[in-house]
């Protein structure tokens, strides 16, 4: 039972355009959502997070949107750069615990 889903395994975007990565969840007991980026042969690195009481959080080129009624979050990268090419994971923190559930990842390729 995949509680956090990333339904697009891959995405290709032209340099300079917007990249939109999506994540859906089924559990209403998540209180924080996080996005990580992973390059090959490296561990994931944290990008941006959002609390379940907010609907938007922005940090430079990265913006995360949360739609609680739809149980959907998205990561927008504007403008996309070739260095953004990586696998992106969304993760959800189970409320009141230290436990995180990760999605299956989306491989983003930014074309120069």
């Amino acid at each position: 039972d995949q509680q956090v889903k990333q339904n697009s395994p891959s995405l290709s975007v032209q340099e300079g355009r917007i990249s939109i990565l999506n994540c859906d969840y089924t559990n209403s007991m998540f209180d924080y959502f996080l996005w990580y980026k992973k390059y090959p042969a490296e561990g994931p690195t944290f990008l941006i997070s959002i609390s379940s009481i907010k609907d938007k959080n922005e940090d430079g080129r990265f913006t995360v949107f949360l739609n609680k009624s739809a149980k959907h979050l998205s990561l927008h990268i504007v403008p996309s750069q070739p260095g953004d090419s990586a696998v992106y994971f969304c993760a959800a923190n189970v409320a009141g615990t230290y436990k995180y559930i990760f999605g299956t990842g989306t491989r983003l390729k930014v074309l120069a």
Binding site: D31, P44, Y98, G105
Partner: protein, 113 residues
């Protein structure tokens, strides 16, 4: 900068061997985690620890055990390695507050023959 290190980048073991994967963090984090990453399955939590000598099972603890004798060190143990434990193993740590970002090590690619 937070640093999480893992004892090996690549490891090859035989079926039935006992395998130890070590993880050390240098930022005095309360929480430490072990995940495995497999294609199409993302990161799955094996075990985590929120304090020395404290541990909780994650989603896939079968075939694994853990040890946390010191705050900075969290070990994953495969008592009798099997081929279906061939995977990328990732260690992470974070502060003891809910919702905090995790800091990951570089991973250990374990192959069990």
């Amino acid at each position: 900068d937070v640093k999480v290190t893992q004892s090996s980048r690549y490891l090859v073991k035989r079926t039935g061997e006992k395998v130890f994967l070590e993880c050390v963090q240098d930022m005095d984090h309360e929480n430490m985690f072990w995940y495995r990453q497999d294609p199409g399955l993302g990161l799955r939590l094996i075990y985590f620890s929120y304090d020395v000598k404290m541990k909780e099972k994650g989603d896939i603890p079968e075939g694994y055990s853990v040890s946390r004798e010191k705050k900075e060190r969290f070990s994953l143990i495969l008592e009798s390695a099997s081929t279906n434990q061939t995977s990328m193993y990732l260690c992470a740590s974070n502060l003891g507050q809910v919702g905090n970002e995790q800091f990951f090590g570089p991973g250990t690619r374990l192959t069990v023959l």
